[in-house]
């Protein structure tokens, strides 16, 4: 939970950082290109301006000193050409690759007057034609203003400047100058350090982004794997924390779903078939929910379903749709045609609970009710129950323990053989704040699997011990099968009775099962430990629930308590009579004593005596009382 929380916080930070850095890198890139362009253009302008200033001075010099037509003078004066070439050469520097003077002839062709180029191959002769694609030369003649052209077609030249020599108000010639492309390189080199800084920043951001993307990729890959149940491909229990961090329970109905008699499928068809059933049922449920609903495999054959409550008034409709859909499918698992049903418990107000455990507990209570009412049904927690049996029950029970409002009643158990009350069954009762008695079926389910339940059991054991010390009687207490599998309860029993085997011998532990035994060997081991400690073990409510004859054979039992529903009416109900007679006969053959519960009339007692039941218990023989 902690790790997921940290991870989520970290990624929230990344979620903010990521777009910020992306925008930053784009801004930096544009800033860089625009700065580079700006700096380049400033340097370039500086170069051009300095050359234009130079040519202007020289053009003025020529205008002032050579007022006659240059071409005509050159045609007739070789020395003049040499002098002018020498003068012009002085202007040449490392930035100017070629410097020359052109004129336009009568055909409109440009020709060289002077060329300061030294390389023989590149030097043009006097009057040689000058081929050009640029319009700047004609424009200079036309406007008498200098022109600058950027050479895009030619690889070695960068900029060409054409500066007019104006004599007597007309353009007589043009100073032509080609700036070398090396200058361009030089400027680029000057800008390199700035460029490097920007490149480093961009590389840094790019690396950061790559790392972030990689982390996000890893996160989602891991997250998807760790939150999915490998068998059913629905979310697993770990996803619950993630879900609760991002979603409000206010928007959801909480369903607890359990496959009915799933253990029978595993036992009858094998675990592989059981797995296929789980996959098929998960798939069917997924088909009947929406993408905004969240479906979680909570453990074994139990599922949690968070159904988004938008546009859904009655969760029963959703629950029954899912239930019927699963009921209608035939699952082909390992060549077996299997049908299965679901029981669903619904908590429509999970947000009313103080935490998710309590919300689940309420849904689980409803599931328990659905199971006890015959399975393949949907039970919904209502507002009324929310007041009387709501999530407050856990704290109510804890408060009752704290305020000493948990009491134990003792119901006599009559021995036919000795013809007297031989022992008492301790029955837990809770007094509410108004002093009314609350029976255990109204508060035990809500605290089951909680520490409060353990506290209640410890209170029961403590009280039993006190009574056994004070009174010379036998007692029996009720423990759930799950209690016996609980290490805390087992350790508590050992703590209290291990050194006192005599007291333990007067205590019967009545084992009651609400759920099937999944781990028979562990159950047997625990019962044997209890028997070694001196306790007698009774199986409660035999004939109802899950208890069957296998329990009698597998578990080393001392007493069998026949369920009251079979005993009631035994004096008139022939099948009930036969069943009880069979049970008693079987128990005797196994050397197990029998107790008939719910004996309410004399006729029932007589019949049970005739059948040879060992003990009787019921209102006819004595109601539960808080004293003896």
């Amino acid at each position: 939970m902690g790790m997921i929380l940290k991870f989520t916080k970290r990624f929230s930070l990344i979620a903010i950082l990521l777009p910020f850095m992306s925008i930053l890198s784009i801004v930096i890139y544009f800033e860089y290109t625009s700065t580079k362009k700006e700096v380049f253009s400033v340097i370039q302008k500086h170069y051009i301006d300095s050359k234009i200033e130079l040519f202007k001075n020289y053009a003025d010099y020529i205008t002032q000193n050579y007022s006659e037509n240059l071409k005509e003078k050159m045609a007739s004066d070789d020395e003049f050409i040499i002098r002018l070439e020498n003068e012009l050469s002085v202007l040449k520097d490392s930035e100017i690759k070629y410097l020359y003077i052109l004129y336009r002839d009568d055909d409109g062709k440009f020709r060289y007057l002077i060329d300061t180029t030294k390389e023989v191959e590149q030097k043009a002769e006097y009057n040689q034609k000058f081929d050009t694609q640029l319009s700047i030369w004609d424009n200079v003649y036309k406007t008498k203003i200098f022109k600058v052209a950027y050479q895009k077609e030619l690889q070695t030249l960068w900029i060409t400047i054409a500066y007019p020599i104006v004599i007597d108000g007309r353009v007589d010639a043009i100073i032509g100058s080609d700036l070398t492309y090396e200058i361009h390189q030089e400027i680029s080199n000057t800008l390199k350090p700035i460029e490097k800084v920007y490149i480093y920043v961009i590389i840094f951001i790019a690396i950061m982004l790559l790392i972030i993307y990689f982390l996000i990729f890893i996160y989602y890959k891991t997250k998807n794997k760790s939150f999915l149940d490998p068998l059913t491909k629905v979310y697993n229990r770990q996803y619950l924390d993630e879900f609760l961090q991002t979603k409000s329970l206010e928007n959801y109905f909480l369903f607890m779903i359990d496959l009915d008699f799933f253990k029978h499928i595993n036992d009858s068809y094998g675990h592989d078939a059981g797995d296929e059933v789980l996959v098929a049922v998960s798939h069917e449920i997924k088909l009947n929910i929406r993408t905004k609903d969240v479906f979680i495999r909570f453990g074994g054959e139990e599922f949690l379903l968070f159904v988004h409550n938008k546009n859904i008034k009655d969760p029963a409709i959703v629950g029954n749709r899912i239930r019927q859909a699963v009921e209608n499918i035939v699952i082909n698992a390992h060549n077996n045609q299997i049908k299965i049903t679901l029981s669903l418990g619904v908590n429509p107000f999970p947000h009313h609970s103080k935490d998710i455990d309590e919300a689940i507990k309420i849904a689980d209570e409803q599931l328990y009710i659905a199971k006890t009412l015959g399975r393949n049904r949907v039970e919904i927690f209502t507002e009324n129950t929310s007041e009387s049996k709501s999530s407050k029950r856990i704290s109510d029970v804890q408060l009752a323990i704290d305020e000493d409002r948990i009491k134990f009643a003792f119901q006599p158990i009559y021995s036919i053989k000795s013809n007297k009350i031989d022992k008492y069954e301790m029955l837990i009762r809770m007094f509410d704040i108004n002093g009314s008695i609350v029976t255990p079926d109204n508060f035990l389910p809500s605290v089951k699997h909680t520490q409060v339940y353990i506290s209640l059991t410890q209170l029961l054991i403590d009280t039993a011990l006190e009574v056994l010390i004070k009174e010379n009687i036998e007692l029996s207490i009720n423990l759930d099968l799950q209690d016996i599998l609980n290490d805390d309860i087992m350790n508590f029993l050992k703590l209290k009775f291990l050194q006192n085997k005599t007291l333990a011998s007067r205590l019967t532990i009545e084992v009651l099962e609400h759920e099937e035994i999944n781990n028979f060997s562990l159950m047997k081991e625990r019962i044997n430990i209890l028997k070694d400690m001196g306790f007698k073990i009774a199986l409660d409510d035999f004939g109802s629930g899950y208890a069957n004859f296998r329990y009698l054979m597998e578990l080393n039992l001392d007493i069998l308590k026949i369920d009251g529903t079979i005993i009631q009416g035994i004096s008139k109900d022939v099948p009930a009579y036969n069943i009880v007679k069979t049970i008693v006969g079987f128990a005797k053959s196994m050397n197990i004593k029998t107790v008939a519960e719910h004996v309410e009339i004399k006729e029932e007692m007589e019949v049970l005596k005739e059948i040879d039941v060992d003990y009787l218990q019921g209102y006819y023989l004595g109601k539960p009382a808080f004293d003896f």
């Binding site: 023989v120 043009a124 034609k129 081929d131 030619l154």
Partner: protein
């Protein structure tokens, strides 16, 4: 790594190729107009990289006898079999030799084309009007 090196070499060759391709196109246009043939036979004296690399419509021949035109990289040692052929230069200085009717050359980074009218007329060659601006009297 090899892919990157290949890519760099490829880009470099494209940049370098642009001038060579341009020169080849110009040689093509000139040779076709001078010979009035769609695929003139060209004898190269000696090596002219742009034509050898991108001959396009020029049919480079080894024997000057069958050539329609000779393009020169030098005017030294022109084979005798070429003496009656149209000679076309690749430097301004080639034009000093009056047998050379024109030249295409690079000067100051710019392509230049130059023909002499009298030399063209001597061989009864009339160029397309688009070449007029390159013809000197």
């Amino acid at each position: 790594m090899i892919k990157i090196l290949f890519f760099i070499t490829f880009i470099y060759s494209i940049v370098l190729a642009s001038d060579i391709k341009l020169a080849s196109s110009i040689f093509n246009a000139i040779a076709i107009d001078l010979t009035k043939k769609d695929k003139p036979k060209v004898y190269l004296h000696e090596n002219i990289k742009s034509i050898q690399q991108y001959p396009k419509n020029l049919d480079i021949v080894k024997n000057c006898k069958i050539a329609d035109i000779v393009i020169l990289s030098t005017i030294k040692d022109i084979p005798s079999l070429c003496k009656d052929k149209i000679l076309f230069g690749t430097r301004y200085t080639h034009l000093k030799d009056k047998r050379v009717i024109g030249a295409f050359f690079w000067q100051k980074g710019r392509p230049n084309i130059l023909f002499y009218r009298d030399r063209l007329e001597k061989r009864y060659i009339k160029l397309d009007a688009s070449f007029d601006k390159y013809i000197e009297k």
